[in-house]
């Protein structure tokens, strides 16, 4: 990869340069609102101020990919976001819900994130930049990152067009794609061969994440699943915030998936009695199947659940095993086919019976 090293403060100029040099028409990036972090869509470069104080902030509100879902525009927009968000964007590109040519994907390193509200509450202790030591220290105080982040193996920026990595008090900026390298040269960065793979660190993160995954409570029976989903009110928020749920009209908003009136009575007649709202289990099981290859494990579903069901223990955990059998990591590459659209002549027989 081609890249260079910058100081944290240089990032402002870099982002402004992208807009200034018409590399992109707009930029979606985090900005600070009080003690919280949210996204803004910037067209005026002057609005980009001290990005280094916010783009690495360990906070998760919305998955940025969900913001651009369905943007089949011709203009070019840069997206500065965490790996899970960019991975979702890449899945959306494969699903034709985002125009590949119209986005410049800029992935930043993530050290794990707190829920937006947790972050706001403990902003004073957490600050803008954290590292693993700091996270441990915070955890000791009872301030923990989201479960989804704790089990995340992909915190280092390694996908998208451009990556922004934190290394030794500086930032490494590198282009992964032709488009990314072009963008970097357009803003006048001196480019050289740069290796930002950080294999050792990656291994350490993966090991830690797997350990944390093992520690999560398992839903290993139907009874456990029933108990787990007991409080679900089928509000479908988990679906609405999911960056890779892309249906124009969800099956569970259609008459067959969302029976009312007579249809519901028929069902009740058939089984004697039915739970209402109906289809609670079918909804979640179907949904986990629908996203099993594309789920980027961002945890947005859990954040959105009004009943605080720890959905990370369900969606990403179940999906990950499916991704393993296909040796598929969602959001790695826009060119990689979706697992359900391809096959090998001989495969998977061990999974069938």
């Amino acid at each position: 990869m081609k890249g260079t090293e910058l100081n944290y403060e240089d990032l402002e100029g870099f982002f402004q340069g992208l807009l200034d040099n018409k590399v992109i028409d707009a930029l979606i990036m985090p900005h600070r609102v009080g003690n919280k972090v949210s996204y803004m869509l910037v067209r005026d470069k002057e609005k980009v101020a001290s990005p280094e104080s916010v783009i690495f902030a360990p906070s998760f509100g919305v998955n940025a990919a969900n913001v651009v879902k369905g943007w089949m525009i011709d203009n070019k927009v840069g997206i500065v976001a965490k790996p899970c968000e960019i991975r979702a964007a890449i899945e959306l590109i494969k699903l034709k819900q985002l125009n590949e040519e119209s986005v410049l994907l800029i992935t930043v390193d993530c050290s794990g994130a707190f829920k937006n509200e947790d972050y706001a509450e403990h902003y004073a202790e957490i600050g803008n930049l954290v590292d693993s030591a700091k996270l441990k220290e915070l955890e000791g105080k009872g301030i923990s990152i989201r479960e989804a982040c704790a089990i995340c193996e992909n915190r280092l920026a390694d996908i998208g067009d451009i990556i922004i990595a934190r290394i030794n008090g500086k930032v490494g900026v590198a282009g992964l794609t032709e488009m990314g390298v072009k963008a970097l040269s357009a803003v006048g960065l001196p480019l050289e061969d740069k290796d930002l793979e950080r294999r050792e660190e990656k291994e350490r993160i993966v090991a830690e994440a797997r350990k944390r995954l093992e520690e999560l409570p398992k839903i290993d029976s139907v009874e456990a699943l029933e108990a787990f989903l007991q409080d679900c009110i089928v509000c479908k928020n988990c679906r609405d915030v999911c960056p890779v749920c892309y249906c124009k009209e969800c099956f569970f908003d259609q008459p067959l998936g969302n029976p009312v009136g007579g249809d519901l009575l028929n069902l009740a007649e058939l089984r004697g009695a039915i739970e209402v709202p109906a289809n609670q289990l079918l909804y979640h099981l179907t949904r986990v199947y629908h996203v099993c290859t594309t789920c980027v494990a961002c945890g947005a579903c859990e954040d959105a659940c009004p009943k605080s069901i720890p959905l990370t223990r369900f969606y990403p955990v179940l999906a990950q095993k499916v991704q393993e059998i296909f040796e598929y990591v969602p959001g790695k590459d826009t060119k990689e086919p979706l697992p359900f659209t391809t096959y090998e002549d001989e495969e998977l027989e061990e999974c069938l019976r």
Partner: protein, 918 residues
């Protein structure tokens, strides 16, 4: 006027249906009281032949004359008067399909009469009647003990004194019976005693599978006697030790002349085929010639024509053959007979019809439970089922009275017309074979044919469960079907015109014949040949095994084609792109003079096969004295022979064998011997496959002094330093020969373009050859039809076939194509996918999934929404669209998470309904 088809066996049935389906009046004359002939007696065949019999019985264009015999004929082609059991009928032409009889003077030494010694046909009956006893075993008729060892003895009553020729079919059906035994009673040891295994194409694979996977022991010995002793049957054979008998992994030892004994529980005699006993008399009445063996006389290049114009012959009355060949001949003969006749009848399904609008009508489900001639009624408590079903929501009437399919069909029609039923559930037969018949009945009565559901009570309930269990299962499955029926929707059926033209790909003998046949039937034909000239394999040959000059035959074909104005020949051309469906295809041709679009209603793939160039095998290509059989044939055509010793190596190169390679060997050996009687000719072989009447050539070759040396599969001959050495299995020793010429029989390869044609026409390949429609375990009843309606295959494109077979098959393909082209219009398939634009997100996954590229993404304008004076949301969106060619697999529908794309007749709701009541 009309056409008489004599014989109601599988050939007669096929011919009659082809003719009747294309609008000809047919008299089907059968001497027995029922249709089906020998095939109806085969173990598994009822499932294949029965729907055809029902179709015939209900066909408006067929006059069925059962228990009738032909007594006289007068007149000539176009104006025959046929006397049938006292009645006189006027016909323009006649198709003779009287079938065969089995050899019935079996030598006493086979212990014939012993209950455990049966003929193959009797064994079929046993397999068929073998009801699921609790043990699931095959038992000895004599004492009901399980059969642990069964032996099949081949060539009983054929290839011998009483019946000189080879019965052709036995090797195949023996293999299939052995397969069925192994499949159903895996513990049974199966031995097959044979002389040569004369199977071809996919049967070869079956035999290989039997040997390798099923552990069936093939033993080369013509077992002459069966000795009954203490309840077992002892046979002697010459082979030691039994291959594989003493555990696997042991290298098979070769026969060494020591006689071994084997005790068997049952013996099946693969008894030969003879011409039907009444054939002689029939031939006399019809004035047609028979050959030395008593079969109807036909020729290699005219395999379907008798000496009397207007009288065609087909099936086992012309030579012993398999069902596959027999039905191909029947189709071909039908088309030839049609040339003499005028189309006088309507083609079924072409009449005007209008479907009742059901959307605004109350749901009235009619359930018809058929007793299936006692098959279902005997196993299921029908009154109890009726009582239960009566109370299901939406059920307006339940009919449990019908016992035959004919009755059921009539009851349904009247139920729709008289009671105003809006959904039909039929419980009885398997929908796989009978759905079309029942859909037709609905359509005839004015109900959209997709408002029908079928419950398989016979094959999947009555025949497999005990009575109480069967009744419960029947109730469940009918309930599920009734529930599904509630959600069935009328599927829009559009009619589109049939383009009365055909495309024939391949200008070899099969392609040329097919093109001519179709043109003679009155349709335009595009004949496409990739080479610069027509002829294919004929151009490689000098003389056909019949003695006819290949170039004369070719010349005749080419002349006929060039003088036929209905045929347009494209040489040096290929088909590049195909779109559309049966009745309405469009292809782009790439030829010498650029591209051209052509439209046609049916296509025939007759691409032939090509000889493998055996470069490097036995020194071919390096040593001048090593040649192929076709090269040797050219040497022989030169008229002189310098060599003193010739070695022919048969089966020495692995790969697909042609059906004529054995014939080529003996015929060339004979020709060489004729040129130089004292020539030493050695044929090294594993199997000499001179099937049928060709057996006499083999005998003649032996008599003329050609030496045949057999080698084992694992020890092919070698040719080094001028010496051919072969390990002979009779001497168990190496034999060395110093030949002047070594002649190889190369394997056959499929045409290179098959791969591409397979994708374009959606026809699956097997080993590079085209696969017919139904790959049935036992019978191929539609040998030239494919999974893609409107596309037919024939000749060596299916497997390397002999000239007569290629011609018969291509006539059959032409016949099948003409049945389609005779129609004015066809209907769009009902089971296709549809897209709900409002829901589609345009992700395009369905496009990737579609195996036939029948889905594309399109940009659609989004209709503008107006708020007062302001219009917003106008723009474009991408949605999927199902285009022509959808084959209804539903892969798209089961991906689509929102259900925006769904498969008609298999919509989520329809499946859910069944699930709710499962």
């Amino acid at each position: 006027m009309g056409i008489a088809v004599i014989g109601g066996g599988v050939a007669g049935i096929t011919a009659a249906l082809d003719l009747a389906d294309s609008g000809y009046k047919v008299y089907l004359i059968e001497k027995n009281a029922k249709l089906g002939g020998k095939v109806a007696e085969l173990a598994e065949c009822e499932t294949g032949i029965a729907p055809r019999i029902v179709k015939i019985e209900n066909h408006p264009n067929i006059e069925l004359m059962l228990s009738s015999e032909v007594e006289g004929l007068s007149g000539s082609a176009g104006d025959f008067k046929l006397k049938v059991s006292g009645k006189e009928i006027d016909v323009e032409s006649v198709v003779l399909a009287p079938g065969y009889d089995v050899f019935d003077s079996i030598a006493k030494s086979y212990a014939i009469g012993h209950p455990n010694v049966v003929t193959a046909l009797e064994f079929e009956g046993m397999l068929r009647a073998c009801t699921p006893s609790e043990t699931g075993q095959l038992v000895r008729p004599s004492d009901g003990k399980p059969v642990k060892r069964i032996g099949f003895i081949k060539c009983v009553g054929s290839r011998g004194k009483e019946n000189e020729i080879c019965s052709t079919a036995c090797c195949g059906f023996t293999a299939k019976e052995a397969w069925e035994v192994k499949e159903r009673f895996p513990g049974t040891e199966v031995y097959i005693f044979y002389m040569d295994i004369r199977v071809f194409g996919r049967d070869e694979e079956l035999v290989a599978k039997l040997k390798d996977k099923y552990g069936v022991k093939y033993i080369r010995s013509r077992v002459p006697e069966v000795i009954p002793e203490n309840g077992t049957l002892t046979v002697k054979f010459e082979n030691k030790p039994l291959q594989g008998l003493r555990g696997r992994g042991q290298s098979p030892r070769l026969e060494n002349g020591t006689v071994e004994r084997l005790d068997l529980d049952m013996v099946v005699l693969a008894v030969g085929l003879l011409p039907s006993k009444t054939l002689g008399k029939l031939a006399e009445i019809m004035g047609v010639k028979t050959d030395t063996y008593g079969y109807l006389e036909t020729s290699l290049t005219n395999p379907l024509e008798t000496n009397v114009p207007g009288i065609l012959a087909c099936g086992t009355a012309t030579a012993p053959m398999k069902v596959r060949e027999s039905v191909a001949q029947a189709s071909g003969a039908a088309l030839k007979a049609a040339l003499f006749s005028e189309r006088t009848e309507l083609i079924p399904g072409q009449e005007e019809r209008k479907f009742i609008e059901v959307a605004d009508k109350p749901l009235k489900i009619g359930v018809f439970i058929c007793g299936c001639e006692g098959e279902v009624a005997g196993a299921v408590d029908l009154p109890a089922v009726v009582e239960h079903v009566k109370h299901l929501t939406g059920v307006a009437s339940v009919n449990g009275e019908t016992t035959t399919m004919k009755e059921a069909l009539e009851a349904i029609e009247s139920g729709i017309v008289d009671q105003g039923l809006t959904r039909i559930v039929v419980a009885g037969y398997s929908p796989r074979l009978y759905e079309d018949l029942f859909r037709d009945a609905c359509a005839k009565a004015g109900l959209n044919p997709y408002l029908l559901d079928m419950v398989n009570l016979r094959e999947q309930v009555a025949w497999v469960h005990g009575k109480e269990e069967a009744t419960n299962a029947a109730i469940s499955q009918i309930t599920m079907a009734v529930e599904r029926a509630r959600y069935l929707e009328p599927v829009p059926i559009e009619r589109y015109p049939v383009i009365p033209k055909a495309l024939v790909v391949g200008g070899g003998v099969a392609g040329m014949n097919a093109a001519l046949e179709i043109a003679q039937a009155g349709y335009e034909v595009y004949l496409v040949e990739k080479e610069a000239e027509l002829g294919g394999g004929l151009r490689e040959n000098t003389e056909l095994p019949s003695g006819e000059s290949a170039s004369d035959v070719l010349k005749e074909f080419v002349e006929k084609i060039s003088s036929n104005e209905k045929i347009r020949v494209y040489t040096g051309a290929t088909v590049e792109d195909v779109r559309g469906r049966a009745g309405s295809f469009r292809a782009r041709m790439k030829g010498e003079d650029g591209g051209e679009e052509i439209d046609f209603g049916a296509a025939i793939l007759a691409t032939g096969a090509r000889e493998f160039v055996p470069e490097g095998w036995y020194g071919y290509g390096q040593e001048k004295k090593v040649v192929t059989q076709s090269e040797f044939e050219k040497m022989l055509a030169g008229g002189h022979m310098d060599a003193t010793t010739i070695v022919m190596i048969q089966d020495g190169i692995p790969g697909q064998r042609s059906k004529y390679s054995g014939i080529q060997v003996v015929s060339n050996a004979l020709k060489a011997k004729a040129l130089k009687p004292d020539l030493n000719v050695f044929v090294l072989y594993q199997e000499i496959k001179t099937y049928g009447k060709w057996e006499v050539l083999y005998k003649e070759a032996r008599e003329k002094g050609v030496i045949f040396l057999r080698y084992d599969e694992g020890r092919p001959p070698a040719f080094q330093e001028g010496i051919v050495s072969v390990y002979d299995v009779i001497f168990t020793d190496e034999i060395q020969i110093k030949p002047d010429v070594v002649v190889l029989s190369p394997a056959m390869l499929p045409a290179e373009e098959n791969e591409q044609l397979s994708t374009m026409f959606m026809i699956p390949l097997k080993n590079g050859f085209f696969l017919e429609e139904q790959e049935r375990p036992k019978l191929v009843l539609t040998p030239v039809d494919t999974v893609n309606e409107g596309v037919f295959i024939c000749g060596s494109a299916v497997y390397p076939a002999m000239v007569d077979e290629a011609i018969a098959m291509s006539s059959a393909a032409a016949s099948r194509a003409c049945v389609l082209l005779a129609k004015n219009f066809l209907e769009t398939p009902g089971i296709v996918s549809v897209v709900d634009d409002a829901i589609c997100s345009g992700c395009g996954v369905c496009v990737d999934l579609c195996p036939v590229e029948a889905i594309e993404l399109v940009e659609e304008p989004v209709s503008a929404v107006t708020f007062g004076v302001m219009t917003v949301l106008s723009g474009k969106k991408t949605v999927a669209r199902v285009i022509e060619g959808c084959i209804g697999c539903g892969s798209c529908a089961s991906y689509c998470p929102s259900g925006a794309i769904s498969l008609q007749n298999f919509k989520d709701q329809q499946v859910f309904a069944q699930l709710d009541y499962a």
